[in-house]
């Protein structure tokens, strides 16, 4: 039996209450902190979208050099070769490692680019009344929030290769500056996704819900 589905839906906002986003406790509107978990209570974060856009822009700015500069510096017998994110994927494909190449391509190209598009689209959509299906918007948001952290794979790959391949002149691998930029870009977009207030999705779909 599903108790929640049989009840008429009212929002905490309409009841003059606020839901704690950390633990789900319901408190009166105007209360500063949750009684149960002491998290800060915010009924609707008016600056949510501003924060989203700020982190989003920071993420884009970091993402550009992350793709232009080398991720890995491989030195063999005094000759240094550089490889970028996309270069690393191409190398994997050349070696016939199609599966792993696909994973890296997905984690470091598809996910970050997709994330930028989806977050911008969501932030734009919920900033004004819209007719989109809220469930679809939420699905996009949840996918972005869930999958975003997996972009870090490439940064960890660089860390492990650097730690393992240190054979002086014969072969040495060092991290390139793109590793820092890429890590920053992932962190910024994770913060952008976390700043997004999912309750805004429903507010704009049902403008009369407060009655």
């Amino acid at each position: 039996m599903d108790h929640a589905r049989r009840q008429r839906i009212t929002t905490a906002y309409a009841r003059g209450q606020v839901v704690c986003r950390s633990c789900g406790q319901v408190a009166e509107l105007g209360q500063d902190r949750c009684n149960r978990c002491f998290a800060k209570l915010v009924s609707r974060d008016p600056q949510s979208l501003q924060k989203v856009w700020a982190w989003w822009i920071a993420g884009i700015i970091a993402y550009i050099p992350a793709n232009l500069y080398p991720m890995l510096l491989t030195t063999t017998f005094f000759h240094t070769s550089e490889s970028t994110i996309v270069g690393g994927v191409v190398e994997l494909l050349d070696h016939g490692a199609y599966g792993v190449g696909a994973i890296v391509f997905f984690a470091s190209v598809v996910i970050p680019v997709g994330k930028f598009i989806v977050i911008a689209w969501l932030a734009f959509m919920v900033s004004r009344p819209h007719k989109h299906d809220p469930h679809r918007l939420l699905l996009f948001y949840e996918v972005v929030e869930f999958i975003g952290r997996w972009s870090m794979i490439d940064v960890f790959v660089v860390a492990i290769l650097t730690a393992l391949v240190q054979f002086n002149v014969i072969a040495t691998i060092n991290p390139g500056i793109a590793a820092v930029c890429f890590a920053l870009s992932v962190i910024f977009t994770m913060l952008a996704a976390q700043s997004f207030d999912s309750r805004l999705i429903w507010d704009q779909t049902q403008p009369d819900a407060h009655d």
Binding site: G24, F38, F156, L164, F167
Partner: protein, 204 residues
């Protein structure tokens, strides 16, 4: 007067529900957005604490044993988990070394410690330790930033990249870390926030 229902809010879409208290083992989804409001699994607390202690013990192995060894001809290189962090320890990349240190060791371990600290008193029939609610909240907040499982996928990719060039052998730390990742994924399947919060609150 005894309460027969409890008010639960949906943190995703702001809907409010009155859920009956006697619904042990029944889950409830938000009628609007589908968020799982509660799974009502009080028995799971023992499992959460037990698995957290197990993972903390495994993390000790991760810290103190060799992770990977690379052999090529007469050359041999050993790397511990620390070495992977120290790879970024030069010049402008120092902050990245700190971040990687946090993501793969500090935050996963802190999460285990906080969960044990917040939930153990309930199992042994004591009142909550001071700041237990804060500890539990931080444990949940840290979840997206604890990236042990992502690190292990990174290790797998790195191993494929090196496969043709050298022989690689895995040390104790590798298997211990792999076990932590699997246990943590298993733990996530029955961590019900609402149950944990309700019980923590009742244990006051």
């Amino acid at each position: 007067m005894t309460q027969t229902s409890t008010t639960v809010g949906c943190p995703v879409c702001d809907a409010v529900y009155a859920l009956p208290l006697d619904m042990e083992g029944q889950s409830a989804q938000c009628g609007r957005c589908g968020f799982q409001l509660t799974a009502r699994r009080p028995a799971a607390i023992g499992q959460v604490v037990g698995l957290s202690i197990t993972m903390a013990a495994l993390m000790v192995i991760v810290i103190f044993t060799p992770f990977l060894t690379l052999r090529s001809g007469q050359f041999e290189a050993k790397a511990s988990v620390y070495d992977t962090i120290l790879g970024f320890s030069t010049g402008i990349m120092v902050p990245l070394a700190v971040a990687v240190f946090l993501f793969i060791l500090v935050l996963p371990i802190m999460r285990m410690v906080l969960l044990v600290y917040a939930l153990t008193p309930m199992l042994i029939g004591r009142r909550n330790f001071p700041q237990a609610a804060r500890a539990l909240r931080y444990a949940f907040t840290m979840r997206p930033w604890a990236m042990a499982e992502i690190f292990m996928v990174g290790v797998a990719v790195a191993l494929v990249k090196l496969a043709g060039l050298a022989t690689i052998s895995m040390g104790m730390a590798f298997w211990a870390f792999g076990a932590v990742v699997l246990i943590s994924a298993y733990q996530d399947t029955f961590m019900c926030r609402n149950t944990l919060w309700t019980m923590l609150d009742a244990n006051g």
